[in-house]
Subunit: 214 residues, 2 copies
Amino acid sequence: MNDNRKVPKLPSVKRLPSYLHELKLLRDQQQQMVSTTYLAQKLGLEPIIVRKDLELASSTGSPGVGYSVQSLIDGIENFLGWNNETPVVLIGVGNLGTALLGYRGFAEYRFNIIAAFDNDPEKVGSSVHGKPVYHVDYLHDFARNMQIEIAILSVPCEYAQKAAENIANAGLKAIWNFTNTTLNLPPDIVQQRVNMAGDLAELSVKLSGKLWND
Amino acid sequence: MNDNRKVPKLPSVKRLPSYLHELKLLRDQQQQMVSTTYLAQKLGLEPIIVRKDLELASSTGSPGVGYSVQSLIDGIENFLGWNNETPVVLIGVGNLGTALLGYRGFAEYRFNIIAAFDNDPEKVGSSVHGKPVYHVDYLHDFARNMQIEIAILSVPCEYAQKAAENIANAGLKAIWNFTNTTLNLPPDIVQQRVNMAGDLAELSVKLSGKLWND
């Protein structure tokens, strides 16, 4: 890792899509410039945090003028690698997988699920929400041909580890794990876990007054 | 807040459902006892972290014997308030709302979406994945009659703030926010945000090598 480059803070990274969302709304309204104060208010943050976050997009605002909306959008998309469409695949066309195939919210971030994979003969060869479902044995060749790096994992828990190993063996580099399972994989495979049950636990405990609301 | 009670750490709280999941698998296999080492390995954590986490469930393991599986399940469910079914409502029966209504994964945590609300005349009066869809104007009475405290918010972003205010005015206490919007609400309303776009940003940046994988 290059010592001259700061390692970005995770909370800042996770907030970038929220800035992007607000900035695109402003662009739709033909707004050219935006102030730190506006973004701070929209995201419920302190202005100092906003300035710090936006350093990741290599943008510095001008005092009294603010930031250029388009430059900020470009800077954030460039930092995240979201300036081009990212093709991804989904493994496991069950209840959750089907829901994710039908979810259009990923498009805002140019994530496009281009195909799904399963091993159920009744599903293979079908199309779900317009996406083709292939047999998992075809994943390796498909990922190579289509240069896919990211797989969404939505199989039942008991198959999660095996399916994740298949994904790694097929040469993919990252797994977005929607299963309630901790995966044991080589360290060069990037893992991102969606922990909806953890969110629910946090909400339950906040509601009971045992944990402060943030 | 009672000074004698420790405030639980958020990461520990968010891990509790993962313990619960593993413990229920063990119970299904008629296992009576479980070791720290086993849970640590399953969750990819250090044993010392596991012991600390499980203190929240008021359980202490015995050296050489481990924890009682059933006591741990009871302790965690009791701590989270998950020993009874939690009835929740969903606001906004669009693409994502429909997916959530069809998602069966909440049942493991006894979260039951008993009704959905929308203001689209074409949706009101219908049933989606077996759940009735009512007009939002009926939320106040319904929530009061059914003693609902938690709403899942899945409306389009531009309606999120208004819908959240409606939920607060209807007397509900917590919002699980699936929209990409920061909500401005009274501090006594518990908010929990699902930030899938933030997860995607984290994954993208890890994949680019700008952020360490954890």
